[in-house]
Amino acid sequence: MSKGHKLMVLSALLAAVVSAMAMADDLIFRGTISGEMLDFSGLSEVETPAVKQFKQTGVNPYNSNAEIIHHGESLFSTACSGCHGHLAEGKLGPALSDDYWTYPKNMTDKGLFETIFGGAEGMMGPQRGRLTQDEMLQIMSWVRSIYTGDPDKAKWITN
């Protein structure tokens, strides 16, 4: 093994350690169906401050941002309304505005993110690589904003 090659291996190892350290504070995200840890490597996107904050806290900082919520509605209209309906009232896929969840973990923002990022049964394929993680958070903020169910079941409301 050449010296140059050794260096490359060493720096690759270091990078892996550093990135593992950077993620040390992150929550563990798991696929809704598989239960396996979601893989965030290889995404062609730069994590926004909101995504970084969400990964550590499970709290979606966009939930109270009116401007983002408005943009989330537009994203929903193209990425999600085809199945979930114009106003998330349910169509080919279930309603997202009521308090019934096919996967109960979707009552938390962490759970909903896991379902969107990693996919679920049926036509709910993983949105990984189709939407950026920041766009997923924007869409989630709009979905939460149109909630019509029991306030006590809104587990994503943290304060």
Partner: protein, 598 residues
């Protein structure tokens, strides 16, 4: 040799080139020879005519009551199993929904899998499939199996070993383009289209060289004439259908680029005329207010030269669609007397509820009859102009909720393969009987995301005996439009029908029964409840002198997508699948093949 070449970006620039290299003359077509032997079931449509008819008569009206399950095969997958297995000699080839596994069985020993092909696909393509993750089956020719993958690939396998021979990216899932269609093998080529009009994908049909996977030609449904690949005398027999420049002029600005018109249905081929026939699908988005104009050539029956792809004629059934009546349904070729003269005909039951019979040489309309009087979007089709006469009460537009519109977006007929009995000159149509409410909304276009813009509710149509029926099998005369008999069903007859020389009409029900009717009166002579509902049509073959009827089962497709809902979800039963909520009380997901014999 295995080559993976990206072809999705293959543009019209190459069309001029390919036109200079006419396809080589092929010797006796092996597929045609196989079709002539009714022991085989060589293609999804039965044969090139698309008549979906078996000349076998060992199972007949007298003994069908003794028909029993002979053997079965589980594919190990759930979701909708459209299409049917193929039989080539003593081999059966089975295909599945995503991830599109393929199995080869030897009929001498069906309990053992000879080979299996299991492609790896990125699961994210599931979320850009419009209506379940179905696949409509395989094609075969000259020792090769041709299959499509949801992720947009067209693949050739060695029929003996299952080894991948070549693989081409035909449709780009990054822009929402997928494949659910069965490929069509003809004259050394294999034809295939794409799905994705719900995501604004521009439609095209492509011919690949069976041996190498190279593109021979590609023809679009919208855009400039050279990309539409129109012949010089396009529509010369019916200039009022429209001729040149309309693939761009009938759109606002460059909307044709994201205007849909994908074809994912069935092809038919006339060797004498050297023409093949198919339908282009719906324009995008569904919201009609966002795309003024006729939106040519979406919703069109095309007749194209199989060697060059050049269009001889095209007839747009639903100019400026308002209801998602995608025009991709089966084309059935028959020769029947019209005004005393045997005429080459093409019959097509459209989503819009009209049965069209055209002269397949010229494209001239012979008949355009409603398959059920409930059709209300059109009062009739003017046979002179070819134009439908609309009833404005059932049109759709922004800021208006249309109600009691018939047919629903699913159409009175969808992807099912129907049969024609040449002896009695009768078609047996498997139909939907579903109407809808429709309310459009505005949305932006984003590549790779849905471009629909309408909210729908569906419910049974008005004409069933108890007003709750959503399906029927209807025997009709294609030339006169006369109805001979009707057999109502609780749910849509989604998969279509098979007619046999034994005087029988076989079909599957969504709740999981395979049934046999007497072709003369529609009387039910036999049925069998399968493990899950079925959305493909049965087929028939014989092995060592014994006739069998076989079918895929596995409920799903557009009517079955709601089965992933929990019954307790209050929103289950809303929207486009609401009409099928009750299906959950009859069947659950499953997937496999059932074979029946005496």
């Amino acid at each position: 040799m295995k080559s993976i070449i990206t072809a999705a970006g293959f543009g019209a620039a190459s069309l001029a080139l390919t036109a200079m290299f006419p396809a080589a003359a092929f010797a006796a077509d092996s597929l045609e020879a196989l079709q002539a032997n009714s022991s085989n079931w060589t293609m999804q449509t039965g044969d090139y005519t698309g008549q979906h008819y078996s000349k076998l008569s060992q199972i007949n009206t007298g003994n069908v009551k003794n028909l029993k399950a002979a053997w079965s095969f589980s594919t190990g997958l759930l979701h909708g199993h459209e299409g049917a297995p193929l039989i080539i000699g003593d081999m059966m080839y089975i295909n599945t929904p995503f991830p599109n596994n393929t199995f080869a069985l030897n009929l001498a020993e069906p309990e053992k899998i000879v080979w299996q092909h299991k492609p790896k696909q990125d699961a994210s393509v599931k979320s850009v499939a419009c209506c379940d993750i179905v696949n409509r089956g395989l094609a075969y020719d000259d020792g090769r199996i041709f299959k499509t993958q949801l992720d947009g690939h067209m693949v050739a396998l060695d029929a003996k070993t299952g080894k991948e021979l070549w693989k081409m990216e035909n449709c780009d899932p990054a822009v929402g383009s997928t494949i659910t269609q069965a490929p069509f093998a003809v004259k050394g080529k294999v034809l295939v289209g794409c799905s994705g009009a719900e995501l604004g994908v521009r439609g095209y049909v492509t011919a690949y060289d069976q041996k190498t996977g190279e593109i021979i030609w590609r023809s679009f449904a919208t855009g400039p004439d050279n990309e539409l690949n129109l012949s010089k005398d396009f529509n010369k027999d019916n200039p009022h259908y429209g001729q040149f420049g309309l693939g761009t002029k009938t759109w606002e600005g460059e909307a044709w680029k994201i205007g849909g018109g994908t074809n994912w249905g069935w092809y038919a081929y006339d060797p004498k005329l050297n023409l093949f026939y198919y339908g282009s699908g719906n324009p995008a988005p569904w919201n009609e207010t966002m795309r003024p104009g006729d939106n040519k050539w979406t919703m069109t029956i095309w007749a194209r030269d199989v060697d060059t792809g050049a269009a001889k004629w095209g007839y747009q059934k639903t100019p400026h669609d308002e209801w998602d009546f995608a025009g991709v349904n089966q084309m059935i070729l028959t020769d029947q007397p019209v005004d005393g003269k045997v005429t080459p005909l093409l019959t097509h039951v459209d989503r819009n509820g009209i049965m069209y019979t055209l002269n397949r040489n010229t494209g001239s309309i012979v008949q355009a009859a409603k398959v059920d009087p409930a059709v209300n979007v059109f009062k009739k089709v003017d046979l002179k102009t070819g134009l439908p006469v609309r009833d404005p009460e059932f049109s759709t537009r922004m800021d208006h909720k249309g109600t009691n519109i018939c047919p629903s977006a699913m159409g009175f007929h969808n992807q099912g393969l129907d049969a024609y009995d040449p002896d009695s000159r009768t078609f047996f149509f498997g139909l939907n009987h579903i109407c809808m409410d429709w309310e459009p909304f505005m949305l932006p276009y984003r590549a790779g995301q849905f471009f629909v813009g309408a909210t729908l509710a569906m419910y049974p149509g008005p004409n069933g005996p108890t007003k709750k029926e959503m399906g029927q099998v209807r025997a009709m005369d294609g030339v006169t439009g006369a109805v001979k008999w009707t057999k109502w069903e609780k749910f849509s007859v989604w998969g279509g029908t098979l007619a046999t020389k034994g005087g029988l009409v076989f079909y599957n029900t969504l709740d999981g029964k395979i049934k046999a009717l007497d072709k003369t009166n529609g009387k039910e002579l036999w049925n069998f409840k399968m493990p899950s509902g079925a959305i493909g049509a049965p087929m028939s073959y014989s092995y060592k002198g014994k006739q069998f009827v076989a079918t895929n089962y596995g409920v799903g497709g557009w009517p079955g997508v709601g089965l992933v809902f929990d019954l307790t979800d209050p929103s289950a039963g809303l929207g486009a699948v609401g009409a099928f909520k009750e299906l959950q009380n009859y069947t659950q997901m499953g997937g496999g093949v059932m074979v029946f014999g005496l």
